[in-house]
Amino acid sequence: MTTRNDTLFDKSVEDRLAAEALIVDVDGFEGPLDLLLTLSRTQKVDLRKISVLELARQYLSFVEKAKELRIELAADYLVMAAWLAFLKSRLLLPPDPTEEGPSGEELAAHLAFQLERLQAMRDVAARLMARDRLARDFFPRGLPERMERVRRVTYSATLLDLMQGYARIRTRDEFRPFVMDRDKVFTMEEALDRMRGMIGFAGTWIDIASYMPDGWAADPVKWRSATAATFAASLELAKEGKVELRQSDTFAPIELRRREEPQ
């Protein structure tokens, strides 16, 4: 411990510069563990024999200096500082047998393990990246031959398909294209045509039912259509000013009379 303290205070100019560089370079460190690892390297010892106490001291003085220089430290640096301060106190004070939790030595050993493991990962990462690598040191086939896909198509059809196909053709004549069945529909246009030719004679009130086309009254479907068309045509003629309409009562017959031309 004393020897380490001495080395710390007898730091060469170079080490001092390095220590200052550490402070300015906070952003360059990937977290407190990274910084601790760098600090531990300055002890130039085997990571397994590292003095965690010394490391904690260095880290805490780093944080102090950073504060003096008003360098913004990320929260995890400060959390680590607090934890190291706690660890330091545990390592310095004689163990309290009543206290629960891991001993300072255990905590220190784990930190040393973490640092050693991180260093080991960095070493193997470097070894990995230094390996002969594909497309840099060794190469795949430059002119690969494509697997040619030969597609063979077989067609399937069953006897049922065949017979249904034939049936479809032979019965096509029985089909007829879709048309509206209009034979039971009397349109308003038809009613208008019919009525226009007749209203000239309607000098007196006549029930519009008498304008119904001949032969449409027997079939209820036809009757309904013709009634609607005749009524609509009557309204149309009234709108045009050709006729007048009247109805004496609800559901009473609607009567129609030619309108006299305005003089």
Binding site: M147, R149, L159, I169, R170
Partner: protein, 202 residues
């Protein structure tokens, strides 16, 4: 194996294009003789799975011609025969020997060359004797392999229209009476079903 031969081997393998002797020499260390190394390499690959071939003035490694089949993957796809093909085939089967004009008359549409070719290729139809009518048109008949595929002893075993109907094969067409009508709601039930059954009668 000589160092220069190794180099030529590696370059030919990794290059995306066939490589000329000049380029080989350019890429190999000064003083190398790619042409000579190529001679050795070519001999080494004789009778192997891949061979060193000359392509114009350039060199490449290629699969041995007799192993080309390894680079192919056959996939079999089963497709349903098109409706046009089925109908054409059916007409030929029912009416053989039949000319193209006759097929078109029965189908009501022209028969494309592709449809006939496809059926010929499947070996389900073949050309029959020419008809003794003006123009002496060719006819089509079905083949034994057609009968084989459809499990028929002869084309005469194909069921007739009446049998098709009896078998219910004609039922799935929309009967004309089922078309929506104006004022349909007024038609009483008896009338509607009467109209329908009429259509289903022979």
């Amino acid at each position: 194996m000589g160092e220069q031969e190794r180099m030529v081997e590696a370059i030919l393998f990794a290059s995306a294009q066939p490589v000329s002797v000049a380029e080989l020499n350019g890429r190999m260390p000064h003083g190398c003789d790619a042409a000579e190394a190529l001679v050795h390499l070519r001999k080494r690959y004789e009778g192997r799975g891949v061979t060193v071939v000359k392509v114009g003035d350039t060199w490449a490694i290629r699969t041995a011609p007799d192993l080309g089949f390894l680079m192919q993957k056959e996939t079999v796809e089963t497709r349903k025969l098109s409706r046009a093909a089925i109908e054409t085939l059916a007409i030929i089967a029912y009416h053989q020997p039949v000319t193209r004009a006759e097929i078109e008359e029965i189908r009501g549409v022209s028969v494309s060359r592709g449809t006939v070719d496809q059926l010929l290729e499947l070996e389900w139809i073949r050309f029959g004797r020419r008809k003794m009518t003006p123009g002496r048109p060719v006819t089509f008949v079905v083949t034994p392999s057609f009968l084989d595929h459809f499990g028929l002893e002869s084309a005469r075993d194909l069921p007739g229209l009446k049998e098709l109907r009896a078998a219910g094969l004609l039922e799935n067409r929309p009967p004309p009476g089922a078309m929506p009508k104006m004022g349909e709601g007024d038609i009483d039930d008896d009338e509607a079903s009467a109209g329908q059954s009429e259509l289903f009668e022979d």
